[in-house]
Amino acid sequence: MTEIHSVRPLLAISLAFVMIIVVVLFRRWPRLRHAVSVGAAVLLFGIVASLIQPVQQGQTPTTNLGTLVGTVELSFQADPLGLLFALTVSGLWIVTVTYNIGFTAGDGLTHRTRYLAALWLSIGSGLGVAFASNLLVLVVFYELTTIGTYPLVAHYGSERARKVGVEYVWYVIGGGTLVVGGTVIIYALAGTVTFVPGGIPELAEIATDRSLAAYVALGSLLAGFAVKGAVMPFHAWLPKAMVAPPTVSGVLHAVVVVKSGVFGIARTVLEVFGPDATATMGVAVPLAMVAGSTIIIGSLLALKQDDLKRRLAYSTIAHLSYVVFGVALLTPAAVAGGLVHIGAHGITKLALFFCVGVVTIETGHKKVSEIAGIGRQYPVTMGAFAVGACSLAGLPLFAGFVSKWYLLVGSAEIHWAVPLVFVLSGALNVAYFWPIVYAAFFETPETADPKPLIDGPLGGRAKAQDDETDESPPATADDGTTDKRAGAFNQHETETERPQAGPTDSSYTLYKESPTLLGSLILLGVLIITFGILPGELALFDLAKQAAEASVGEVFE
């Protein structure tokens, strides 16, 4: 791995930050603003993509801007792991910003300048997280993503949105503060916070002594990143943040925010403490257990959500833990699979959110129970949704299968029973996506019937059968308060507080789906399938392997 000087990592980040100013300057010319944004997004992706070749040749393009504080340098590097994340961010951002054009028009969004500027800030800081060459620079941009996304989460400005916005800030800045604390300790212990594949050598010695300070540092880093990564029990903010517009949900779930959390965990385990130290300290197993339970519980909870976006949110919680689980298993194939899932899940979840966004704009429907027959009115939209669902379920020939395959192989190296987590999760994915796809394509509102898989509280308390089955059951012990409150809000509040944007009649017009909306959905669908059929042709896969090999060891073919 040779370090070469290149301005491109910095160029990519600064382009996004410059776009904030451009967006504000062009506030009086909305069309121009959108056009410039799309152009800049393509350019941004071009810059990031131009880094693929040198990285695959084993070089690390680095922009070093000198010292930030003490001996820590303000430096940006495109190493395989960082580039993987940066490609995901910048690639999906093109789709997001295109979709956003149609969405802002369809939704009648207000404060569009602030909205777009905050999106650009989130993207720029996401790239900063990706290219940061040490923990402190990562922390700087990690906190900036929060500053960028807070106004987005609270965007609608309703009582509920504001409350959730403040809560969101508490959660993620709390996580960020934990990360800062961990960084401080590591700097005090090791004298450096620069990422080294395989772990910082100075830290490894201290970590093998199993000193308390090392545990506190590792614990607070993992917990801090887990907040944004929505690993249970720090996940509660994510379903609530669904009050935000769907573009924002896409950014939160697929492009930047939660991904920066799991990315931080990957950096911590692979390149700060290193796989050896993490294993020696005995942290890898508990981390894997937490991630594994999050996968199962998240998928189970997704089953119970009637609100489409909430169902997707719990699905995100489960899928993010695929990444964490893969990294925590510490076998080369599992790590590679987990890292590929950053990209694979990103593409897929973005498609799913955008489908739901289109459905909501066009029909005003937001619930699984209202979806019947929608597929015949909006075949492209629901088709993309079906593709996304297959991908997340991990069916072959779809993107999700690639990462899942490696996760299965990698986890089987540990014990034959570990892959069961993924098998079970795959089955649950089918269980919570199939009813939507089925109802959309094969039912009409007249023939629709409720399809409850779990209609009683988990744990089996007796419940009268003739309850309205489309209501969420009362909150259960394992997801107590959040479920109850958030559930209530989804059933009643959003609809009264948020003005219904689209018409609620189901008059059939395919052409109402604006070209920018449809185009981005088709593009995502194609991407999912391409990624599933030809994973080797997309750089993401190679980069993930390269990153895993640098830290953990050879990924066998």
């Binding site: 930030l68 003490g70 700087v140 500053i147 916005g165 508490w170 503060t177 800062v180 604390g181």
Partner: protein
Amino acid sequence: MIAWLFDLAPWLIAGVIALPALGAGILQLVAYLSWQESPPRHGPWVITLGTLSGTALLSLALAVILVLDGPAAYRFGGTLFPEVVFRADTLSVTIGVLDVSLTLGILAYTYTRGPFGSRFYTAYLLFTAAVFGIVLSGDLIAVFLFILVLIGTTARLIRLGGKAESADAARNYILTATSGAFVYLCGALLAFWLAGTTDTEALGATLAGVGYSAPTVVSSFVIMTIGLALLVALFPLHGWLVETHAKSTDPVSALISGVLPAAATYALLRILFDVYTTEFLQANPTVTNGIIYGAVGSLIIGNILAYGQRDIKGMLAYSTISQFGLIVAGLMVATETAVFGSIIQLFGHGIVKGAFCLVAGIIVLRFDARTLDEFGGVANRAPIVAASFVGLGIALIGLPPTVGFVGKWYIAIAAMEQGLWIVALFVVISTMLTLGYVVPFIDQLYFAPFEGPDHGAERVTVPMLVVITLAVVLSLAIGLGSVFLEETLREAIEQLIAAE
């Protein structure tokens, strides 16, 4: 040629104290001679601007010379009355630059909104001079005298601010602050009795001979620290700051929060390291730890009390108390990293809090909004002001990459290295505590509906906006460029920490 310029340093030291004082004198004279009938509205302001610009130039020149040539001293008197030494190094000039840039920045606000009148600006100039005096004097008694001047001028500034309750507030302030100053004087006299001198360097040498664990030495230190702690407004000696903050006009609040505790903290720093040295701190762990945990307590309690405040100025006052807890804790950790962290925090906080008070003032000017509930929807009408509020809020919370983060980073690192876990923990946690009371204001600004009156954008002048924007930019620039500051201050801090 260059050497000749360097010889100017002592005169510059004298100049930065004398010039504002002289300006005050001229202002009074002009007012007495020709403005008695009909004082021109902006006359005093122009003279003040000229004087402060001159002072700023002098202090910048001094800073450049000090960076290039090392510390300098100016000796004053010696025949008619005891000799007083003024010493300057890059540290002291940092606080000096903070002082003069704040007083200059606040002028942009007072040009249109007042207070007007030569009496206010006389006090304003004397205030600037007194801060320079405290920062530069190398003599315990001279520091005391300058503190008295500072208290007197601050009280006049509060009273001339023109609010109804301000006369009471000024009187209370004088009583409290003067008693703090006299407590400090007792300690200084005790030290004088022990060592026979009040010059800080000579004192340091003599006290080392007396022995650092001698009860008299320890008590002289403790007494002086308590006196100064009152002037810094550390908990539980903070009451005066909250009251004066609430009852003076916004530009004066900016000075009170930004400069006043900074000057007292700087005096504490000088006494701590020049007179008593780090060896004293090591010899008396009880005293050291007592002050550290007292300061950390101030950090936490200040933050917690800020939650009770619906009024923006109350919030800012308690936030100041907590910030100075952080700064003093950093000083007492007493390593190079920690002291640098404290200095950068001191400087950064001055800029941020000063600008914050002005932003609060601007919002009052245009929207009559003082409390949290009245802040609703201001962002839609005044985007620049609201964005500045957010920028300054982020710096106040201490999120990267602003100056607030960098200061905390250095202090936390140093505390960790010294094994002071609890200090590091609370420094990190204070981010969350600050977040909790700043975010509701931002939430209101941006997402609540607008309800209050709007007096029109023309009430807010361009210079006001320039000043607050500049403060936001500075808070970012100092955060990103902290290394340059560290480079500049390193030598001075090394000398400060190094035991004689």
